[in-house]
């Protein structure tokens, strides 16, 4: 039963990777414009994230140290400042997108503007962090995240052609508009292989005091958690392909796509869409705000841990407080959350190589991993992930320019 509860860390991590404003937004556009043709990008992202989280969970379970911890010690500050700066920038941009996305869900539900909702929504997220413990946040998001299974129910209900779905899992030349296709493929991978998943998952494993006996549960949690997120994200693409594509709706805004679930699920569809968007965004925002505190505290050697009281770790608590305050600014000045998300994902893709590349050295360091260093399979996987990260980083700027 205890091992089963560990699944919560996998689910909460995957919510931040697959069910937040960026992933739902790109999924809707991918399904609406290219039906099932971009499912492969999501599957590729899910496999990459599952390998990366398994590795960082293993590092945490064996050494009781996080990736950021190990990176600072192994590479020193003159090198580590670059991945750290890149990750702080990415985390802040994505956090701003998520709080904007959560406020957007409330705007869709109530008709009251994002600018009215953004401050109370962010304050609510801050209260959860201030008063909550790691396990209460983790289990709360994991349970609430199950609401997003409504996309899976809707997708199965609409009886897609499973043969076409399977064909979508293999990359093919697009039927039309290759620039937009490439733009969405990079967006989907950028939204799912997010660097904060890696540092959050390893910090979560240290918070939960994983030990070497947890190595097998870690593998299951990484595979099951990322499997959960990617299946729901694939269902978003399927529903968009079945509902939006035949009606010629291109889902360039959430307002256009909000009625998506009403077709298969009737009057509950709209409520479930808004609820799923809000839960995904709040879950991701909690994850990102905590991740910012984790990476800063671990880099500078401060005391950290969401289970501690704010007065026991003032700098940790103030870091997420300041991050959340800054995250409200783009929405307050009227920047559309979906546009901010697309920009954040392009920055994420550019930053990804310098954040994941050091993993190939860290995961082979016996001082941390003892006899559990990477084997041939894991090393091949991490090298492939780094190669993919470099390729999409090179493609990101031209693709953003041509395909947006």
């Amino acid at each position: 039963m205890k091992d089963l509860i560990k699944i919560a860390l996998g689910i909460v991590t995957s919510v931040g990777g697959f069910l937040e404003v960026g992933s739902i937004g790109t999924g809707l556009q991918a399904g609406a414009s290219f039906r099932y043709q971009l499912l492969w990008a999501l599957a590729l992202g899910a496999v990459c994230v599952a390998f990366l989280t398994e590795m960082t969970g293993r590092l945490a379970a064996v050494s009781q140290h996080t990736v950021v911890d190990a990176m600072r010690k192994r590479f020193g500050v003159p090198f580590q400042m670059w991945p750290l700066a890149a990750q702080i920038l990415v985390d802040l941009l994505v956090l701003a997108s998520e709080v904007g996305g959560a406020a957007l869900a409330l705007q869709l539900a109530t008709g009251v503007s994002i600018q009215v909702w953004i401050v109370p929504m962010t304050f609510g997220i801050w209260l959860l962090l201030w008063f909550g413990t790691f396990s209460s946040i983790e289990h709360g998001v994991a349970v609430a995240g199950l609401v997003t299974l409504c996309f899976v129910v809707a997708a199965v209900w609409m009886r897609p052609d499973w043969h076409d779905v399977a064909r979508g899992l293999v990359p093919h030349r697009p039927d039309s508009d290759p620039a937009h296709y490439a733009y969405l493929a990079v967006g989907i991978i950028g939204a799912s292989v997010s660097p904060y998943l890696i540092s959050f998952y390893s910090s979560g494993a240290v918070e939960e005091k994983w030990r070497p006996k947890d190595l097998m549960p870690n593998r299951i949690v990484a595979a099951f958690g990322m499997g959960f997120g990617s299946v729901v994200a694939m269902a978003v693409i399927l529903v968009a392909a079945l509902v939006l594509a035949p009606r010629g709706i291109d889902a360039e805004s959430y307002q256009e796509a909000a009625g998506l679930l009403s077709v298969p699920l009737g009057r509950w569809g709209f409520t479930l869409f808004c609820l799923s968007l809000a839960i995904g965004c709040v879950g991701a925002a909690l994850e990102l705000a905590l991740d910012l505190s984790y990476i800063v505290a671990q880099s500078f050697g401060w005391d950290w841990g969401e289970d501690k009281r704010p007065i026991e770790e003032a700098r940790f608590a103030l870091t997420y407080t300041v991050a959340l305050t800054l995250a409200t600014i783009p929405s307050l000045i009227g920047i559309d959350p979906l546009r901010l998300t697309m920009f954040s994902m392009a920055v994420t893709v550019l930053a990804l190589p310098i954040i994941v590349a050091p993993l190939v050295i860290l995961m082979n360091d016996a001082q941390y991993l003892k006899s559990h260093t990477n084997g041939v399979v894991s090393n091949t996987a991490v090298v492939l992930v780094i190669a993919i990260a470099f390729v999409i980083a090179i493609l990101a700027v031209p693709v953003q320019w041509l395909g947006a």
């Binding site: 500050v77 201030w130 050697g301 289970d307 009281r309 704010p310």
Partner: protein
């Protein structure tokens, strides 16, 4: 001990397992006709920034002297304080009792975080 591999950037803990920073710099004593000797470890943001850019460190020092309400001067800790050396280093100090350590943390606790509501408790704590 390899100073760069085993000492520089290592996490420091006090005897109560409280994290007190990282080894941001190592101070060497140059002796005539004898090998250099490690005089102390330095912990503090100015030492850290100096490793990236000495100019930036000078700016930080000047800014901090003018605007920071609490000193961010680096702390020098002798190697005689070592209690246990592993992936982290445990020192024979009590960070909360030692006035030189965690100055910014203590100031923020007293002046900022401590004044916010419910900073001293977590409702979920009882279940831990």
């Amino acid at each position: 001990m390899d100073l760069v591999r085993d000492l520089l950037d290592v996490q420091l803990m006090d005897r109560k397992q409280c994290r007190i920073g990282r080894v941001d710099g190592v101070l060497l004593e140059i002796r005539e006709n004898r090998p250099p000797r490690v005089a102390a470890m330095e912990v503090g943001p100015i030492t850290l920034v100096r490793r990236v850019s000495p100019t930036l460190a000078r700016w930080l020092r000047a800014l901090a002297a003018r605007w920071m309400p609490v000193s961010i001067r680096s702390v020098r800790l002798p190697l005689t304080l070592f209690r246990d050396v592993g992936v982290d280093i445990e020192l024979d100090v009590d960070a909360h009792a030692d006035r030189r350590l965690l100055r910014v943390e203590k100031w923020l606790t007293r002046r900022v975080v401590g004044r916010l509501p419910a900073a001293g408790n977590k409702p979920g704590e009882a279940q831990k």
